[in-house]
């Protein structure tokens, strides 16, 4: 890690790095995250029509999220392993509670009103699922046996189905993939993976059958967005126009007409990527993607250097799931994937997801900084 820094003040920086390391913070990862978050604030200022209230609220969330990161980074990974069953169990109960007495917002039941604050149990599950699956699979030597894989799959499917029922297909898919990534990393045989993928292909028609109308509509409009330019296809059409009109260098910060004149819907939340593409061009989004890859790369490096299989699985899952977020969001905004409602991590305006996301990075930092001397 120290080799990555090579400027004249290296000595000073190294000491800062060491200092942060003492409080279980990974300096490079923190730097990358802070950079992305600052860029996010800048874009949000433009996308939100220069509304400073929006920025202040986002800053408060970021502060909360960073606190969560710092707190979680202090927890020893072994302790996390101990908590994993409890956390998962609590999350599952809350999910059922949401379905029973949840608070409705935008046509979906996702919120649990706890009186003092509103809480989205699915956010908890984003961490609890990979944590539990990693814990469970790492209890025995890897690769896991078939029975353990099946039990792992059940651990994944149960919360995913509950979340999909809210309905929040995007989050359900992300949670499922975070668990599946753990199973994949655990070294199950390729034959099993291929059979599993084939099974999914067969299950697709069944999935189509159980999907909500609005979800089917989203898939249909993805295939031909022009078919409904004023309804469901409107988002994608306007977003493609915004991205395309940005060109290589963009129209300039706060100069994007699609964004500033409100042609682009949900421009400060799910479609904020289109604002970046319109105002900062291919260069801007290229840089952004580079930084996302650096963040994930650092996470994967941490995973590869982890001392236990549990830590490797968990760190790998968190890092890769982060990339899945980025991929799904950009894929949906550019019209490659259906509009499933996934925010652009660290940049989209929004509440709990920021906290969960940074909590995840807190786990990564904890893994990297709680190291035991195993051999001299």
């Amino acid at each position: 890690m120290t080799s990555l820094i090579s400027d004249p003040n290296a000595k000073h920086k190294i000491s800062v790095t060491r200092l942060l390391s003492h409080i279980h913070i990974d300096a490079l990862l923190l730097l990358l995250l802070l950079f992305l978050m600052s860029a996010g604030l800048m874009i949000l200022y433009s996308a939100g029509n220069q509304n400073s209230d929006l920025i202040v609220r986002q800053l408060i969330r970021m502060a909360m999220a960073l606190s969560a990161l710092i707190v979680i980074a202090q927890i020893d990974p072994d302790r996390m392993r101990d908590y994993s069953y409890w956390l998962y169990g609590a999350g599952l109960i809350l999910l059922i509670a949401v379905l029973l007495f949840g608070h409705e917002g935008k046509g979906a039941q996702r919120w649990l009103d706890l009186g003092f604050f509103r809480f989205q149990p699915s956010e908890l599950m984003k961490l609890a699922v990979p944590l539990l699956v990693a814990t469970y699979l790492a209890e025995r030597p890897l690769p896991p046996t078939f029975v353990r894989i099946v039990i792992g799959l059940i651990m994944i499917i149960a919360p995913s189905v509950l979340i999909a029922k809210q309905p929040d297909l995007g989050t359900a898919l992300l949670i499922a993939s975070s668990g599946l990534i753990v199973i994949f990393l655990s070294g199950i045989s390729w034959r099993l993976i291929i059979s599993f993928i084939s099974l999914c292909a067969v299950a697709l028609p069944v999935l189509w059958y159980v999907m909500h109308d609005y979800q089917r509509q989203r898939v249909l409009t993805l295939l031909n967005p022009e078919s409904d330019p004023l309804g469901t296809g409107y988002h994608i059409i306007q977003s493609k126009i915004a991205i395309g009109s940005g060109g290589i260098f963009g129209q300039g910060w706060m100069e994007g007409t699609q964004s500033q004149l409100a042609f682009l819907p949900e421009r400060s939340t799910d479609f904020i990527f289109a604002v970046i593409a319109e105002e900062l061009g291919l260069v801007g989004v290229g840089l952004l993607i580079l930084f996302y890859l650096l963040v994930a790369g650092r996470g994967i490096y941490i995973a590869s250097q982890a001392q236990t299989s549990f830590a490797r699985l968990l760190a790998g899952s968190i890092s890769l799931t982060f990339l899945v977020y980025v991929f799904v969001n950009i894929g949906m905004v550019t019209g490659l994937l259906p509009v499933v409602g996934v925010p652009l991590p660290l940049i989209s305006y929004g509440g709990t997801s920021m906290v969960t996301l940074l909590a995840g990075f807190g786990i990564l930092m904890s893994i990297h900084t709680h190291r035991r001397m195993m051999s001299p």
Binding site: P141, S245, G247
Partner: protein, 617 residues
């Protein structure tokens, strides 16, 4: 599990997981390569396409309609202007609850359920961000009332617009005309580009004839709009060019005199300046208020105007067909003189009737016991019918027709108001073609006194009188005098349209006829003697009484027993001063009885007003 085995497992498991991590890195690298390819496709290859789509999204071209030119009378009195009005408009997408809002507005403006129902339909039909007009021409009170309560009505606003207004009301209804909403038929021939944003077009009168001049040139602005279609800023502006102002020959004061003098009679009064052809006053009665048509007349009001038996919308001055009666006599006399059939001195004997050779049908003179021996002067000043029966019989219809032709009888005068009527000057050929009948000699006689098939419009009579007054100089009557392209620029006078002078060989013939017309007013036995009172100059005139209803042989015309509708039309033509005419006046009072009794006094009022004659009546 021994420590050694665990360590070994750790190593193996580490490699296993790291292999999968490496695979994942490669796989995600692939996914993000796809993303980058997609972005390059959208932002580089398809950039121009999306850029133009983006511009189409935000840039809107808005027409800027020109301001319509104003219309003034000769003294600068405004006859047609553009006044700002306020209308109440609603943008559906900005209204949180349309039903609630409409109900509240209905209470405030006392609108009926029907109106509200219509509005709801209109709101449904329009795009959500387009304004819907709730109410037009708000009064000051209504504007104030709404302004106070505006906070209650999100998405509803008072919007100012310019609309045409005729401050003189009904006074110039037929002459100046009016504008109205562009209809489908007009949509066909107007330049669509030029009328973008313009809602109204000249429908009748001067407003229609000078439409091109008054309309102006449309401008446009390229504006940036937001997703609601609301203008954010202006990118480019090409200003509209206002229509030219129009200055008419008409004199509002004189028009008012004519209007009041005609009183309750239906009919028409026209005054013109024979030297320029300029129409000084032109009234058609009954009248209507042109302002009704500007912002869409209700079908009920329109039906009332259209179906009224008095036909107020009908412009009698230009389209009313009246038998000219005795007012035609000076022209017939001129024909006789010019063709050498009569001389000033030659006489006819009037016993009160005339018979054609070999027939016993008596063609009566209005004076049943006859005028005795009459020469030209007596025949015109006392309006002897028998003299003109005799003259017409001698001339024959063909010569009468061709002579009246040069005075434009049976032809449009070419005045600058559309839909003028041509009248009818009968001929043998006309009768053969239209009635499939031969011409009877008796019809020549009654043509000689301006009855029978003869139909003239008041403007034709005015034009012919003007030509007579000017001793053959033929100037087309005109309402518009000058234009002005902008307030700063000079008036541009419109040229008088002067046709070939009339081919009258002996100029003495003009004077012979005009002298006899002077005697109509100033002679001892003239039919319009009261007109001469206190006049400092000589007036030439001719009364006319046109039969609406044919009375049988041996019957007497008795006004008291006849229904008003069947009373004779009263006509009078005159010009003054007779030797150097400045003023021509024609009066047609429908069912007015006699020309001397009803029409001549109206003409007198016009003359005294125009020349400022002081008189005690």
């Amino acid at each position: 599990m021994s420590n050694r085995i665990t360590l070994k497992d750790h190593f193996r498991e580490g490699r296993l997981v790291n292999d999968r991590l490496i695979f994942s890195v490669i796989f995600t690298g692939l996914l993000f390569t796809i993303i980058m390819i997609r972005l390059v496709f959208l932002q580089v290859l398809e950039h121009e396409h999306f850029d133009s789509l983006s511009n189409r999204n935000r840039v809107d071209i808005e027409p800027l309609p020109p301001q319509r030119g104003l219309i003034y009378d000769r003294n600068g009195v405004v006859l047609a202007e553009n006044i700002p009005t306020f209308s109440l408009e609603l943008v559906p997408e900005n209204v949180p609850d349309i039903d609630l809002t409409l109900n509240a507005l209905a209470d405030m403006f006392a609108m009926s359920d029907e109106e509200i129902g219509d509005l709801k339909v209109r709101i449904k039909q329009q795009r959500r961000f387009k304004q819907v007009i709730i109410r037009e021409r708000l009064t000051q009170q209504e504007v104030a009332m709404f302004s106070v309560n505006r906070h209650r009505f999100t998405g509803v606003d008072v919007v100012g617009r310019l609309i045409r207004h005729y401050p003189q009301g009904a006074l110039f209804a037929h002459t100046v005309g009016y504008v109205g909403r562009i209809n489908e038929r007009e949509q066909q021939y107007i330049d669509e580009q030029d009328y973008k944003g313009t809602l109204q077009i000249g429908k009748t009168g001067i407003e229609k004839y000078y439409e091109d001049l008054l309309h102006g040139t449309v401008g446009y602005q390229r504006v940036e709009t937001n997703v609601q279609g609301r203008v954010v800023r202006e990118l480019f502006r090409s200003a509209p060019v206002s229509g030219s102002d129009l200055f008419l020959h008409l004199d509002t004061n004189l028009q008012r005199v004519a209007f009041d003098a005609l009183g309750e009679y239906n009919g028409s009064v026209i005054a013109l300046d024979p030297k320029t052809g300029g129409i000084l006053a032109m009234v058609s009665k009954p009248e209507f208020d042109p302002n009704l048509f500007v912002s869409g007349i209700s079908s009920k009001q329109y039906a009332a105007l259209r179906d009224s038996p008095d036909r107020p919308l009908f412009d009698r001055a230009l389209r009313g067909h009246y038998p000219p009666g005795s007012t035609l006599k000076p022209f017939i006399a001129l024909a006789g003189l010019e063709m050498g059939v009569i001389s000033e001195q030659s006489k006819s004997f009037c016993p009160g009737w005339y018979t054609l050779p070999g027939q016993d049908h008596r063609y009566r003179c209005w004076k049943s016991h006859g005028h005795g021996h009459v020469d030209l002067n007596d025949a015109i000043s006392q309006s002897c019918d028998v003299y003109f029966y005799d003259l017409a019989q001698t001339l024959g219809i063909d010569r009468i027709h061709s002579f009246l032709d040069i005075f434009n009888f049976g032809h449009r005068t070419g005045i600058d108001i559309p839909s003028e009527s041509a009248g009818l000057s009968p001929s043998r050929q006309w009768k053969q073609q239209n009635r499939r009948q031969v011409w009877y000699p008796g019809e020549t006689l009654i043509s000689g006194i301006g009855q029978g098939f003869n139909q003239t419009t008041p403007i034709q009579l005015a034009h012919a009188t003007s030509v007579l007054a000017m001793r053959g100089i033929n100037i087309t009557p005109r309402v518009a005098r000058a234009t002005r392209s902008s307030v700063e620029s000079e008036l541009e006078l419109l040229p008088a349209i002067i046709a070939e002078p009339l081919p009258i060989e002996r100029s003495r013939n003009w004077e012979a006829v005009i002298d006899s017309m002077i005697d109509v007013v100033h002679g001892n036995r003239g039919t319009a003697r009261p007109v001469a009172k206190d006049m400092p100059f000589k007036i030439a005139g001719k009364t006319g009484t046109a039969q609406v209803f044919g009375i049988k042989q041996d019957e007497k015309y008795d006004a008291d027993t006849l229904a008003k509708k069947l009373h004779d039309h009263a006509l009078f033509i005159a010009f003054a001063p007779a030797d150097d005419p400045e003023f021509v006046v024609v009066v047609v009072a429908e069912n007015g009885g006699g020309g001397s009794k009803t029409a001549a006094p109206i003409a007198r009022k016009m003359i005294t007003h125009y020349f400022g004659v002081v008189s005690d009546d």
